[in-house]
């Protein structure tokens, strides 16, 4: 079965979701990621969704789950690169992704995680 690669980037893990996600792939990603956070003691997780043409409630729930589990393991999740059309659609769908921080791109997301690690800022999701 295909897996989505998880890269280590400093104190953070970077996941780039490039494919149209199948359900099995999403579930495998949750498992792989939890194991990797535990193994690497990563403090942040960046999920790059700039390739995703849609986010439905299934993917939304996966993002929420990842954020919740990461939080338990003392890592913060930042979803980066959401397309504008996807953001507009998500609001109308009714999915607020309240547990998930977002940033425009990987650099800004990385900065959010670093600021929080250095004790700067409150990781409030404000654009840094």
């Amino acid at each position: 079965m295909d897996r989505i690669p998880i890269l280590k980037m400093g104190d953070a893990l970077l996941i780039t979701i490039q494919v149209d996600m199948h359900d099995r792939l999403a579930l495998a990603l949750e498992e792989d990621l939890t194991a990797k956070i535990a193994a690497t003691k990563a403090k942040g997780v960046l999920i790059d969704i700039s390739s995703l043409e849609i986010v439905d409630s299934f993917i939304g729930r996966m993002l929420d789950n990842i954020a919740a589990v990461s939080r338990m393991l003392d890592a913060d999740t930042v979803v980066v690169g959401m397309r504008p059309a996807v953001a507009i659609t998500l609001v109308e769908l009714g999915l607020s992704l309240t547990g998930v921080k977002t940033a425009l791109n990987v650099e800004r997301g990385m900065l959010m995680i670093q600021n929080r690690l250095r004790g700067l800022g409150d990781f409030s999701g404000r654009r840094s």
Partner: protein
């Protein structure tokens, strides 16, 4: 209302849902929907096809390109012969799920479409039809 094009696709696996999304996207581009409207109809289709699979035990998606006077649209019909929905009004409430979902599929798909119809009979199945006009 004239039907310009008519295709039926199976919904029996999560791969089929991916294929339905791709086909809806292709039709949406064909009739000239804006990127935001493409995204809305594809997202609605993804939600409804998933319900067909998860709750209806599988079924079909019908994709039609329709024409009404000068305007074109996409009509999608999701049909299964599953257990049906006992209380449709409840199922349409934001946040209601009988499973482990977020309960936003039906209500969200309704908001993302210009027209929304649902017919369901316990023991017989469910049919949801949506239309998005250009």
């Amino acid at each position: 209302m004239a039907v310009v094009r008519d295709d039926v696709m199976p919904v029996r696996s999560s791969d089929d849902i991916v294929r339905v999304r791709q086909e809806v996207r292709a039709r949406a581009i064909e009739i000239g929907l804006s990127l935001v409207d493409q995204t809305k109809i594809v997202t609605a289709a993804s939600e409804l096809a998933r319900n067909t699979l998860d709750y209806g035990g599988g079924g079909t998606t019908r994709l039609e390109v329709v024409q009404d006077g000068g305007r074109r649209g996409i009509r999608l019909t999701f049909e299964d012969k599953g257990p049906g929905i006992a209380d449709v009004e409840l199922a349409l409430k934001d946040g209601y799920t009988s499973g482990k979902g977020l309960g936003l599929g039906l209500s969200g798909a309704r908001r993302l479409s210009n027209e929304f119809f649902i017919e369901s009979k316990p023991g017989e199945g469910t049919r949801v039809t949506i239309v998005r006009w250009k």
